[in-house]
Symmetry: C2
Subunit: 203 residues, 2 copies
């Protein structure tokens, strides 16, 4: 299998951590890819019209997207129920919380593009602030969870690690550590895992 | 169960069609909701930090997001394997194609916001064209499928119907019917289903 990858992509990081935790990392060839908003990349668009990282390319040529579906696929490949509960109400809670994390990352990327990709003079602060507020309110949601420190290392823990890593990478001064000490403790504990530590975004 | 709903939302339409097809429509109370980019909606943000439609609120108060996870949940509730294959390679093909449709809708909404929500003078054409190209390339991907006319009525068929309906609703002159007669034939056939017809966006 091949995975399109960039060390800057929090979505690619999620799959990388999952692959390491599931013991599948050696079965995946990482293929560097770069996509820039507002710029064409025809070769990559042929792989996926959405032009997003990552996609998983199976040996038979089939392409799996997006990052969450890839994690589900890898989880099933390694027996199932390891990073996503196989059944019961817990399954839906985890899927739903992962959707929240995915949307938080989407909003953070929109904030990043708004501030740093748009040409001078085309910024719309209300849009930026709306999306930042979504991400921040999502952090508050997770910070409120009483079982955060003891939760299993599942796709939600991985997703939250990727959100926090992306906050450090692109929003260094946003102050999430000060605002949410529970998340800071969670993140510090997670960094003990090699999969989380070695996949941290570049500084 | 309650579903937050707007007749203008292609994501809410997807869940509505699924609920009708699965025989669950009478078990769901539709709760009108409105979210506008760049405008706060604190009551709705308390329900979901992402401030997106739809969410499903279970009788025990748990909230399920996003629209795809809700469809999966309803599918399982009605026995499973009806709108999403229960196993095998087909399962991953359907999940992956649905991810593509979801991303196409996300891009179409970004195009809409770029043209009609942003204040005068803050438009960035390259961003709009990049996202429109993603949606359009996605349409081309589905138009190329040889089995489009005979495919089962699953979450991908529903998603594609919602993409085409949203194109009619917000991009009336984009010319998808002329560019992709296969999609026009598919859409016409789908409109024979009451679930698809009655859920079409307002004109």
């Amino acid at each position: 299998m091949k995975l399109t990858f960039s060390p800057a992509s929090p979505f690619a990081r999620k799959v990388r951590i999952a692959a390491i935790e599931l013991g599948l990392i050696d079965a995946i060839e990482f293929v560097p890819a770069a996509v820039v908003p507002g710029q064409a990349n025809e070769a990559y668009s042929r792989l996926t019209p959405l032009k997003k990282l990552p996609v998983l390319i199976l040996d038979n040529g089939e392409v799996i997207l997006d990052s969450y579906v890839i994690v589900e696929y890898l989880d099933e490949l390694s027996g199932g129920g390891k990073l996503i509960p196989a059944g019961g109400p817990e399954r839906w809670r985890i899927k739903s919380e992962h959707s929240m994390l995915q949307g938080m990352l989407d909003s953070m990327l929109l904030c990043r593009y708004e501030k740093f990709a748009r040409p001078q003079g085309t910024h719309w602060d209300a849009w930026h602030d709306d999306h930042w507020n979504r991400a921040w309110s999502g952090l508050a949601h997770f910070a409120r969870q009483p079982d955060l420190a003891s939760r299993p290392f599942d796709v939600v823990a991985i997703g939250l690690v990727c959100v926090l890593g992306y906050a450090d990478y692109r929003f260094q001064h946003c102050g999430w550590r000060e605002a949410f000490p529970q998340l800071e403790a969670f993140n510090r504990a997670m960094m003990d895992r090699p999969s989380v530590r070695i996949s941290a975004p570049p500084t």
